[in-house]
């Protein structure tokens, strides 16, 4: 049950938030803005890679390979060159991002089932996209290679060959947006909960209303509950909104139950709000609170949660650090619920980690707050 004093604080806080355009913008529009920016712009898919070709073979097989590249949709043929010098120029002027060099006798070797090699020159100044381009090329070449291998074997009446047919589950087109939306929810929940909670408490310290409230017969518990409740519900609404918008704009499948989603988000939010309170007991000015919040919640959530950079490809030390980033666990749960529809019970370890985080920060925050209160 919510007491009358808690309600008075909550109503006051809500009225302040509604009056404060800046906070309201942060809480409502920034999530929507981020969703659009990250959903559309932060896209790890690469299309229309400018490709040049140096075909020294000019056989039907080499033409087949080139058209396989072009028809994949990932590559645009921009030039057909005949000398290595021209290749240099194209790459240096950034007219081509990749050059496919096909050796003479390529077609003949392929038909006979003999090993042959094509060369792919990729501009590596953007390592991420270069890796992706190499990946595309490899799969195109190997598909073609498999076919010629099989044809050659059939011609020589050899046994059957193995081929791989990849199947990607849950996100068959490997669209980045689907992968990012759960991360975005974590990110925005952390932003609204930690930053706005710590700022709103520290603002009361700065302005002096905190002192006034401490003089009143109002314990720290109703104060904290009243102050965090509005942020809790706003963050929850914001998270739900992100899922709905992502469903409409990016065809995000909502495979799991909404109840499980809300339960998971709530657990995460309790920890985040407690963390915001903890910061507010340390910082004396809004500026310090904002910077501490950025460093301890915003950046780790962005960098160390697996939101953008996969944890498995981090150095060991950073991988260890990620264990204390709550968003890490939250992301696993969210992706499981949203993309796979896995029941909540499957994530007992992650949920346990979130609960421990919430419990510890809440304990620390209330300990420090009680000491400061009176």
């Amino acid at each position: 049950m919510i007491g009358a004093k808690t309600r008075a604080v909550a109503v006051k806080e809500l009225r302040q938030i509604l009056r404060d355009r800046r906070t309201l913008m942060i809480l409502l529009f920034v999530p929507a803005f981020f969703l659009l920016v990250y959903g559309y712009a932060l896209n790890f898919d690469i299309r229309n890679v400018r490709l040049a070709v140096q075909d020294n073979d000019r056989s039907s097989v080499s033409r087949e390979l080139i058209s396989a590249f072009v028809n994949s949709g990932y590559f645009d043929l921009v030039a057909d060159v005949s000398s290595p010098a021209e290749v240099d120029g194209l790459i240096n002027r950034n007219e081509a991002r990749a050059v496919l060099v096909i050796p003479a006798r390529f077609g003949a070797d392929a038909r006979l089932g003999r090993a042959t090699t094509v060369q792919l020159i990729v501009n590596g100044d953007n390592a991420n996209s270069a890796t992706t381009v190499v990946g595309y090329a490899l799969s195109l070449v190997s598909a073609l290679s498999t076919r010629y291998e099989i044809e050659a074997r059939l011609a020589s009446a050899a046994g059957p060959a193995l081929s791989i047919e990849p199947r990607i589950w849950y996100n068959p087109e490997l669209r980045s947006a689907l992968f990012l939306v759960p991360g975005l929810i974590a990110y925005i929940a952390m932003l609204t909960a930690v930053v706005s909670t710590s700022l709103s408490v520290v603002r009361e310290k700065e302005v002096g209303t905190m002192e006034q409230v401490r003089m009143a017969p109002l314990g720290p518990v109703p104060y904290v509950f009243g102050k965090t409740l509005p942020y809790f519900f706003i963050s929850l609404a914001s998270a739900t909104g992100i899922v709905l918008v992502a469903m409409a704009l990016f065809d995000l499948p909502m495979r799991g139950s909404w109840l499980a989603l809300i339960a998971a988000v709530s657990l995460f939010l309790v920890g985040a709000l407690a963390f915001g309170l903890l910061i507010s007991t340390i910082a004396e000015t809004q500026q310090v609170a904002f910077q501490v919040a950025l460093l301890t919640s915003y950046l780790p959530t962005l960098m160390l949660s697996g939101f953008i950079f996969p944890i498995s490809s981090m150095p060991t030390f950073l991988q260890l650090v990620t264990y204390i980033v709550p968003a890490r666990y939250f992301l696993v749960v969210l992706r499981g619920i949203v993309l796979k529809g896995v029941p909540l019970g499957t994530f007992w370890a992650e949920l346990g980690a979130l609960a421990v985080f919430a419990f510890v920060t809440l304990g620390l925050a209330s300990f420090r707050l009680r000491r400061q209160w009176a």
């Binding site: 008075a8 109503v11 302005v207 209303t209 002192e211 006034q212 109002l218």
Partner: protein, 330 residues
């Protein structure tokens, strides 16, 4: 009004024990922060219906004392009984019984007048019919009728100050603490505010007010002056000025106060001098050395017109006198 209520509100009636009941009783109150003694063995009492001035320079221990009396800070030693409650033992029981208003007018600027009243009502447990009665009282008292829906941040200093006082007494406390309540407010609003304090005390509320406007302190029934954590003086305004009986003060108005002060200090009949803006106050050793002797002694020795007159000692004279004495003692 019944006889019983008279006692409760601290108004002495005929045939009753003389003197209103004690609202705040402070005995040997001390507070240390590590090695630093912020408040050192302070004792005083505040009666119901009394306006008690608590004066001292910044860092003298005023705020620390108030914070202890309001239950925010535990005393290191000594006792303070506020409205019958031992603050050191039961700080939470003190809070509903007192009102507190600080120099910062701690209202929520992004809330309207009405919303601030509603918030403090909620926090102090003033609800329903009582809240609407008290709200009307506060609006009338502060002169905020018609401004109920104005944002508090858009009000001028005087309005905000009166609203802050209104929010502090919404729950009808019997004791009110005002910590530098008139800082940053225009003189007219300050006068109006002191009128409100006067009305409050007439209704039986004990008021403890700190200020560094010494002219304002003359409104107080009694005054305590605190210096370096210790009580330096305590009494009515007249009592505090008593040391100046037989030591007249001559005010010298001149465009060259520093020069005048040097000349005055050299005169045998002058005990000490202090500068007040463009005038110098000279405390004389005996009553028979009048203003005219000073005038005669200064004429022709300072450029520009000089005006000398005997003045009544102000609290500022008292304050400076005490400060000098404690400085020469240490």
């Amino acid at each position: 009004m019944s006889a019983h209520e008279d006692v409760d509100r601290g108004v002495p009636g005929p045939g009753r024990v003389p003197g209103p009941p004690i609202a705040i009783d402070v005995r040997n109150l001390s507070r240390r922060f590590g090695d630093f003694v912020a408040v050192d063995g302070v004792s005083f009492d505040v009666r119901a219906g009394e306006v008690f001035g608590f004066l001292g320079s910044n860092g003298a221990g005023k705020s620390t004392t108030i914070r202890m009396l309001c239950g925010l800070l535990r005393p290191t030693s000594g006792t303070a009984i506020v409205d019958g409650v031992d603050v050191g033992r039961d700080p939470e029981r003190v809070k509903p019984r007192i009102g507190y208003m600080s120099q910062k007018f701690s209202l929520y600027e992004r809330l309207t007048v009405d919303q601030n009243i509603a918030f403090y009502g909620g926090v102090y447990g003033v609800r329903g019919a009582r809240l609407s009665t008290r709200r009307d009282f506060v609006l009338d008292m502060a002169g905020l009728r018609g401004k109920e829906r104005t944002l508090t941040g858009e009000l001028s200093g005087g309005w905000r100050q009166r609203l802050a006082l209104g929010c502090a007494i919404l729950h009808e406390p019997s004791i009110v603490f005002l910590d530098e309540p008139t800082g940053g407010v225009d003189p007219l609003s300050r006068r109006r505010f002191w009128k409100l304090i006067d009305e409050l005390s007439r209704s039986g509320v004990g008021v403890l007010v700190t200020t560094h406007y010494l002219d304002e302190a003359e409104h107080c029934h009694r005054i305590a002056i605190i210096q370096a954590g210790k009580l330096a003086a305590l009494g009515t305004v007249a009592e505090l000025k008593a040391p100046f009986a037989g030591r007249p003060i001559v005010e010298v108005r001149t465009s060259r106060p520093v020069e005048a002060m040097r000349l005055l200090d050299a005169m045998p009949q002058v005990e000490k001098t202090s500068i007040f803006g463009t005038s110098v106050h000279a405390v004389l050793r005996t009553a028979d050395a009048g203003a005219d002797t000073i005038d005669a002694a200064l004429t022709g020795r300072i450029e520009g017109p000089i005006e000398t007159s005997l003045v009544e000692p102000s609290l500022e004279d008292v304050f400076l006198d005490l400060a000098m004495r404690s400085a020469s003692a240490s």
